[in-house]
């Protein structure tokens, strides 16, 4: 971690006020700092506000209480410095895989030839060759997810906000994508906030794992998980297994609370 944290979240709360139905306090007094080039995983029971926190970071929802700043500047709306991979993909259904991936590059004004080459390399990276001209409605869940991933990686945001980006993938593809993400992250200067339900995935990918409490979401604990992930047997290494176990217990406690104490 470098001297000054890139992302500073301070005392952020968020209340949803639907036009019908009652208010929901999704986040309460969340404070968190993420350093330059850090990989932070965010774990927590369903409904604890993980997506909400990413939306606030993305600048999509107004910050009503507390503050969020990126590179010292308060977040005031969306911007291509923060790329987001949405939990439900949010692909443009009227654009093909190719056109979806190209969108961010078009907005940057990248020249056509360069853009096409870049799109193709991303299509290959996420293993979608042969489906460049398919529409999202013609893809499986996992393929949509990989398209969404490629679309965000394409325009090289300095900060990656990823909302369960591998949730719809089979174990094998998931592992491939994890390794790929790690190598991208090691190659290019990127700060990553990565939401997942998979403790092993969190420990494998992240430098630190933040565990959130049941709704209203707060940061409960942050666990340091920085160690060499490149060895082949990392999943079996004792310190890896211990970390997974430690975090799993924290998450389980919160999940039980989220269920209203009915146990698991």
């Amino acid at each position: 971690m470098s001297s000054q944290p890139q992302i500073v979240i301070e005392g952020v709360s968020h209340v949803y006020r639907p036009t019908r139905g009652k208010e929901v306090t999704a986040l309460e007094n969340v404070s968190l700092q993420v350093g330059q080039r850090e990989f932070l995983a965010l774990l927590g029971p369903s409904g604890c506000g993980k997506s909400t926190l990413l939306y606030l970071l993305g600048g999509f929802l107004p910050i009503e209480k507390g503050s969020i700043s990126v590179d010292g500047k308060p977040v005031a709306g969306p911007g291509p410095d923060r790329g987001i991979v949405f939990q439900h993909f949010a692909l443009f259904p009227w654009k093909t895989v190719r056109a979806n991936i190209a969108y961010g590059l078009e907005r940057q004004g990248m020249a056509r030839e360069q853009r096409e080459a870049r799109v193709q390399s991303l299509v290959d990276l996420v293993g979608l060759s042969g489906f460049e001209d398919s529409y999202p409605s013609q893809l499986s869940g996992g393929m949509k997810q990989r398209t969404a991933l490629a679309r965000t990686l394409a325009f090289e945001p300095a900060i990656l906000l990823m909302d369960e980006p591998f949730g719809a993938l089979d174990a094998q593809t998931r592992h491939l994508m994890q390794t790929e993400l790690l190598s991208i992250w090691q190659r290019t200067p990127k700060t990553v906030i990565f939401v997942t339900h998979d403790v092993q995935e969190a420990v494998y990918l992240a430098d630190r794992v933040a565990v959130m409490s049941a709704r209203p979401g707060r940061i409960k604990t942050i666990v340091d998980t920085k160690f060499d992930k490149n060895s082949r047997d990392v999943f079996k290494a004792p310190h890896f297994v211990d970390k997974v176990d430690e975090i799993w217990n924290l998450v389980r406690d919160e999940a039980i609370k989220a269920q209203g104490g009915r146990g698991m």
Binding site: F60, G79, G83, I84, A90, W94, R107, S137
Partner: protein, 246 residues
């Protein structure tokens, strides 16, 4: 073969018509035989009546419909995009929408006279609201995640409107336009029947009044066929534009 089977009922109806007329089950005045109608049709094409009147009608329908699509779509999308416009306009839309637009025929004539202008205005006014409402509902239903997605990839507000809101509105808007297409035929012929010196409606009224019933039927069938063909072609185009849906 499939096509034949599909339109078999129509074929049977035509045969039944021909037989009924030949056997004089109904008076030849009320229902001339289909072959007589066909002869009259060829006659009308030859002496140019059908063509000149048809061209006049298509011009009016095309202009009115074109205007209603462009202005109606823009209005609906901007209403969804900018709340104040919605607040001002939606009561107007609500009041005006269920009103039978044929009631406006005399009004448009007073405003613009007996020529093309009044027909175009009538068709424009009558066809605009289905397009507006379709575009509005479609645009309002845009998925917020898609809007966010575009914004976070560097699209400004106008760019986002064009790249996300307009395509999101497309399916419902195109359905609205289909309704407008059918309405344009109705309004065209009824306005021409009442006050006009040319057009399909005028020709139907004129031939009917002068007792040329074969010719009258020929024009009626022509209009019916054009309406049907326009709808089929439109549906084909619509399916192509919306190919991205499953």
């Amino acid at each position: 073969m499939q096509l034949l089977l599909r339109y078999l009922p129509l074929l049977l109806l035509a045969m039944f018509w021909e037989i009924a007329a030949r056997l004089e089950l109904v008076s030849a005045l009320a229902l001339p035989s289909l072959t007589a109608v066909a002869e009259a049709w060829i006659e009308l094409v030859k002496d140019g009546d059908l063509i000149t009147n048809g061209a006049a009608s298509l011009y009016r329908a095309g202009m009115g419909l074109g205007l209603s699509i462009v202005i109606g779509a823009a209005l609906g999308i901007f209403m969804a995009w900018w709340r104040p416009l919605n607040i001002v306009l939606s009561p107007l839309v609500e009041i005006f929408y269920p009103m039978p637009k044929s009631a406006l025929i005399p009004v448009t004539v007073i405003w613009l006279g007996f020529g093309d202008g009044s027909k175009i205005l009538l068709i424009f006014l009558g066809c605009m609201l289905p397009v507006t409402i379709g575009a509005f509902n479609g645009a309002r239903g845009s998925d917020r995640a898609l809007v966010w997605s575009a914004r976070s990839m560097g699209a400004g507000r106008l760019r986002m409107l064009w790249d996300v809101v307009v395509p999101s509105a497309m399916p419902e808007m195109l359905n609205g336009i289909r309704t407008a297409l059918a309405l344009s035929f109705i309004l065209l012929v009824s306005s021409e029947l009442i006050v006009s010196q040319k057009g399909f409606g005028y020709l139907i009224g004129f031939l009917g009044a002068s007792g040329a019933y074969e010719g009258m039927y020929a024009v009626v069938l022509t209009v019916a066929f054009l309406g049907f063909a326009a709808d089929r072609v439109y549906q084909m185009l619509m399916n192509r534009v919306l190919a991205w849906r499953e």
